[in-house]
């Protein structure tokens, strides 16, 4: 025991002193080890920063980018991009009038698409929307990934097709999430306002959703939740730069993070992808901020690897 305590101990009964000495001795075992690999990673960052400060500034790119996901700052430039895209289209329109348009939101960014009928579609990072330049008959678009639709009222039905489902509406606002790859391969529609009909590609059945309801199409099932406007708001959390998953596989979550921040995240071992978790993070500043939260919650470790992150199980 430290000699500084001698004075305090001198008045105590011998038994008490022995007890404290024992506590001192035993508590040595609570030293926490720090993995050498962790320290190596820190050192690598330090050396990189000292040797090439500009390069590491550039590495901070995704962090800078995410601020643009704040909708107030983001949507205006995005509209300008839409305008720019429109002007560009004008120049080459004649040749391609009848070809459908494909728009993909770049990784690390969201994009807004204005359709000819006045409807708007906000695409989450990496999502692709394909639509005809002019709607004739029905208004039919197809979506890969996640998007929020604000559909103008019209007598012509508006139909969103995904890899396994179709959503038919007249005029409404709703969120569609339809990533085909991975364990959560499903089309998930969260209805904010209006009315939609949801049908699985392989079933004759159709369900009607009312505001607040979430409908999900998986391999062979078609189901709708109880009306819950909170869930619908959460489904749109990405539009404000938040991350919200109420119960999702780690794999799907990390795919989302990777798309949003334009980075790569690998899991070691791979079967960690099936771990389910809840995650709610308010406007995370970087992919690393989310990765940190995840490893902390699940008791895992992570390290930086070239241009991305690796999450791994300790021991």
């Amino acid at each position: 025991m430290p000699s500084e305590l001698d004075a305090l101990l001198s008045d105590l009964p011998a038994e008490e002193v022995t007890g404290l000495q024992n506590a001192w001795a035993v508590s040595d075992q609570a030293r926490e080890p720090v993995a050498q690999s962790t320290l190596d990673a820190v050192w690598a960052n330090i050396e990189a920063e000292l040797d090439n400060p500009e390069a590491t500034q550039k590495d901070a790119g995704p962090t800078a980018k995410i601020h643009t996901l704040n909708p107030a700052a983001q949507l205006i430039p995005m509209r300008w991009m839409a305008v720019a895209a429109t002007i560009l289209l004008g120049a080459v329109a004649a040749a391609f009038l009848l070809n459908p348009v494909r728009v993909t939101a770049p990784l690390g960014e969201v994009a807004v698409v204005q359709l000819q009928d006045g409807s708007t579609v906000e695409l989450n990072s990496g999502a692709t929307l394909q639509y005809p330049r002019f709607f004739m008959g029905s208004r039919r678009v197809s979506l890969t990934g996640e998007a929020f639709f604000d559909v103008e009222k019209d007598t012509k039905p508006f139909i969103v097709e995904t890899f396994n489902a179709s959503v038919q509406v007249l005029g409404t606002t709703f969120n569609v999430r339809a990533w085909e790859e991975g364990l959560d391969a499903e089309t998930r529609v969260a209805l904010a306002t209006g009315k939609v009909a949801l049908a699985g590609e392989e079933s004759a059945e159709t369900i009607q959703l009312v505001p607040g309801q979430t409908g999900v199409v998986r391999a062979n099932t078609l189901e709708a939740s109880q009306a819950d406007t909170v869930q619908v708001r959460r489904a749109q959390a990405w539009r404000s730069g938040h991350f919200f998953f109420s119960d999702a596989g780690l794999g799907s979550i990390l795919d989302d993070v990777a798309r949003r921040f334009d980075t790569t995240i690998t899991l070691q071992p791979e079967n960690l992808r099936t771990r389910r978790m809840k995650l709610a993070i308010e406007q995370p500043a970087s992919a690393e901020a989310i990765v940190k939260d995840i490893v902390l919650t699940l008791g895992l470790q992570y390290r930086q690897v070239n241009g991305g992150y690796e999450i791994y199980a300790s021991n």
Binding site: M1, P2, E4, L5, A7, L8, G19, L20, N22, A23, W24, A25, V26, S27, D28, Q29, A30, R31, E32, P33, V34, T38, L39, A41, V42, W43, N45, I46, E49, L50, V230, R233, H242, S246, M277, K278, L279, A280, I281, E282, E288, A289, K292, D293, V295, L296, T297, G299, Y302
Partner: protein, 200 residues
């Protein structure tokens, strides 16, 4: 049951040499200081930030700062103590800056709270409950913040009470009291454990 000799011997001379080499911008000495101190500084930062990833960020910042100020390191002051002080300040700053990570919504559902609860190390501690080290961790965690910090610096960093008082900006008397009360707390936990006839 003292720590190993290597950890108990205060390598004052080595630090003096490193300090003067650092003033001459010696990257080798810089690497040697990192190799020598990074593990324990990460551990110390972690007692304040409570998670290792943030603690690593803190240490990265501390070492970058150290390189920035290398020419102004005073020969007569201790580099060893300087690193502890810098680590403490950086870790406390990080806690201040850190935005609340989990967002609350007016609807009062507790999913967010659950997400928060998932971050607690309590569940890990329960899993390892049979191991004394895990119990000790939990007991040390029960201590009030500054008492925990003072105790960890004393027990796991082998610092004198005078050094701790300098780093934490407390009087030596207060440090004595913190360490004494921390030991009493651990002792009472150990007694309770033994009275329950649980083998350690």
């Amino acid at each position: 049951m003292e720590g190993s000799m290597g950890e108990n011997v205060k390598p004052v001379n080595r630090f003096k040499v490193w300090a003067s080499q650092l003033r001459d911008s010696d990257r080798g000495a810089y690497a040697a200081v990192f190799q020598d101190m990074s593990a324990q500084l990460v551990r110390y930062a972690k007692t304040i930030t409570r998670d290792e990833a943030s603690a690593c960020d803190v240490i990265q910042d501390v070492f970058l700062k150290l390189w920035e100020i290398r020419e102004r390191i005073k020969p007569e002051s201790s580099l060893h103590a300087l690193l502890y002080t810098m680590t403490r300040n950086a870790a406390i700053n990080m806690n201040r800056k850190r935005a609340p990570m989990v967002y609350q919504q007016a609807d009062g559902e507790d999913v967010f709270d659950q997400a928060l609860a998932g971050k607690s190390t309590a569940s890990d501690a329960v899993l390892e409950a049979n191991r004394l080290a895990a119990r000790l961790h939990a007991w040390i965690d029960e201590l009030p913040e500054r008492r925990r910090e003072a105790f960890v610096l004393s027990r796991h960093h082998d610092l004198s009470h005078k050094e701790i008082s300098n780093i934490m900006g407390l009087s030596e008397r207060t440090v004595n009291t913190h360490i004494f009360l921390a030991l009493k707390h651990l002792r009472s936990r150990l007694d309770a454990l033994q009275n329950d006839n649980i083998t350690l």
